[in-house]
């Protein structure tokens, strides 16, 4: 019990201190760009009303979800195809590494050429940026399928779709999840950036509007919201991952324990 209390105390101590420091440090601040925290927090509910959330935050999130989903499907499918054939892998790996190395935001001007400046462009930008880490990690995971497990499947006649479902995808899933985690942060970046270029709504668009009209506390509240969003998505991801990969983490712990 005291143990739990100590842990909660330790976890909360620094955030409380930092919050207090921000609060009192900016209290009565006359720096135009750094308004008092009190001011930012007061603005927050005024700015992010239900209407704004529906008109700006929700479209952003829907585009993120759409692009991310497309990237996961495409990345895993292509990754399985590329990863299970040695020749194909050897041919495509340098090409894929090249595409992965291109900083994703430079895709925005390219995709604007093809898809204009509408929702499609933003979804495609997010998908095109997120797909590479998922694809390359899937390739890596598929390649590393254990030989003994593969033999086991063959000798019990587990082939084709059953093999894909029970062996390939499952054994690559830790890698796929790692790729999806990288892709999620890229996706958030692209969600914001694509809206900073050309948009009439969205979180990134709104924050830049605030900045251009020098509505500084509003802008800060937007930054805060973006931070909270990033945090929430990463927490959600980790919850989902720890459920889906419970076997993997358990196995790792078991192996560590032996050593």
């Amino acid at each position: 019990m005291t143990n739990l209390l100590t842990r909660i105390g330790l976890a909360l101590a620094l955030p409380v201190v930092l919050f207090a420091a921000w609060w009192f440090g900016t209290e009565g601040s006359d720096n135009f760009y750094v308004p008092p925290l009190r001011e930012i927090l007061r603005t927050f509910p005024e700015v992010w009303t239900g209407e704004r959330i529906r008109a700006d935050v929700l479209p952003s999130l829907i585009r993120l979800a759409a692009g991310y989903t497309v990237a996961v499907f495409a990345g895993v499918c292509l990754g399985v195809l590329v990863g299970s054939r040695r020749r194909v892998r050897a041919v495509l790996e340098p090409v894929l590494e090249f595409f992965r190395a291109i900083p994703p935001p430079v895709l925005v001007p390219v995709i604007m050429l093809f898809a204009g400046i509408g929702d499609t462009m933003k979804v495609v930008v997010i998908a095109a940026g997120c797909v590479w880490p998922i694809l390359l990690n899937t390739v890596e995971g598929v390649r590393a399928v254990d030989g003994v497990l593969a033999d086991t499947c063959r000798s019990y006649g587990i082939t084709g779709p059953a093999r894909l479902r029970h062996l390939v995808l499952r054994s690559a899933s830790p890698q796929i999840a790692a790729g999806m985690r990288q892709a999620l942060s890229i996706g958030i970046i692209l969600m914001v950036i694509s809206e900073m270029f050309a948009a009439s709504n969205g979180l990134g668009f709104t924050i830049v509007q605030f900045q251009r009209s020098f509505a500084i506390p509003d802008m800060w509240s937007g930054i805060l919201l973006l931070g909270l969003l990033g945090l929430a998505l990463s927490v959600l991801f980790r919850l989902a991952e720890s459920r889906a990969l419970a076997w993997y983490h358990g196995q790792r712990r078991a192996q560590r324990g032996l050593r």
């Binding site: 842990r7 330790l10 976890a11 909360l12 101590a13 620094l14 955030p15 930092l18 760009y33 020749r87 050897a90 041919v91 495509l92 790996e93 340098p94 090409v95 590494e97 090249f98 595409f99 992965r100 190395a101 291109i102 900083p103 994703p104 935001p105 430079v106 925005v108 001007p109 390219v110 604007m112 050429l113 093809f114 942060s185 958030i188 970046i189 914001v192 950036i193 900073m196 270029f197 990134g204 924050i207 830049v208 605030f210 900045q211 500084i216 802008m219 937007g222 930054i223 973006l226 931070g227 990033g230 945090l231 998505l233 990463s234």
Partner: protein, 254 residues
């Protein structure tokens, strides 16, 4: 053999981009054939402005990465070596890390405009976490027996960091540096593209707004090559440093 296959893959990509516009699948206005992109690249390379943009990008990348690595290692070792600090900061790190770096863009614009500091701010913020997290993993990996031994021989705090903690953490530090190097390039180019700070990113933005499509593709290809180059270099340095590290450890053991 794999090298030949890989080269044939790259050749295939170039060929595909060359013929696609002729087949009518995509318009040549949107995706110019390879030879026009190559010609644009030659034009770019002949221009002084291209080289100064490349230089600006590399400076922002290198300076930002250096600051992030130094800060990440220092913070990681201090936090990692003191259990109380570690317990105190864990929640804060978990909270701050997922905050997307692009959230800082409006702030950077207000504070520094289109100066290089804007770029640096984003680069440092994004790559710092990569280093810090890896260093924390590395410090956690220190063998308690080695630590106890060092203590029992009366090694001071500095000597313990130098001879026990640092050698264990080094492989992790190198992983962190490699990841940070890639992230730093992405953020440098992003900042230039969105904010307009000088560099390859803003040159891409200019090419786009002046509808110089082949130049835009050429510049994007340059960023990709830069990224591949940085990855390869980082891997090379990692391997070099770690093999040296292994051999040094071997000597100490004998």
């Amino acid at each position: 053999m794999p090298a030949i296959l890989g080269l044939s893959g790259l050749a295939g990509l170039l060929l595909l981009v060359e013929v696609l516009p002729y087949t009518g699948v995509v318009s040549a206005d949107f995706l110019p054939p390879t030879h026009r992109i190559a010609a644009a690249l030659v034009d770019e390379v002949a221009e002084g402005a291209f080289w100064s943009a490349l230089w600006d990008t590399l400076v922002a990348w290198a300076v930002g990465l250096a600051i992030a690595v130094a800060a990440g290692i220092a913070a990681g070792i201090v936090i990692g070596a003191v259990p109380l600090l570690r317990a105190l900061t864990a929640s804060t790190i978990e909270f701050l890390r997922p905050i997307p770096s692009v959230a800082m863009i409006p702030l950077a614009v207000l504070l520094y405009g289109t100066e290089i500091q804007s770029t640096l701010m984003l680069v440092v913020y994004a790559s710092f976490w990569q280093v810090l997290i890896q260093v924390l993993y590395g410090v956690q990996d220190v063998d308690p027996v080695a630590e106890e031994t060092a203590r029992s021989y009366g090694l001071g705090a500095w000597a313990r960091v130098r001879y026990v903690l640092w050698p264990t953490a080094l492989p992790y530090v190198m992983t962190g540096v490699r990841l940070a190097a890639a992230v730093a390039l992405v953020l440098a180019i992003t900042a230039e593209l969105v904010i307009g700070a000088p560099g390859l990113g803003s040159r891409i933005a200019v090419a786009q707004s002046s509808n110089a499509v082949p130049n835009m593709y050429a510049l994007i290809a340059v960023t990709g090559l830069l990224g591949v180059g940085i990855n390869l270099a980082a891997r090379g340095v990692e391997r070099l440093l770690l093999s040296w590290h292994q051999s040094v450890r071997g000597e100490v053991l004998v």
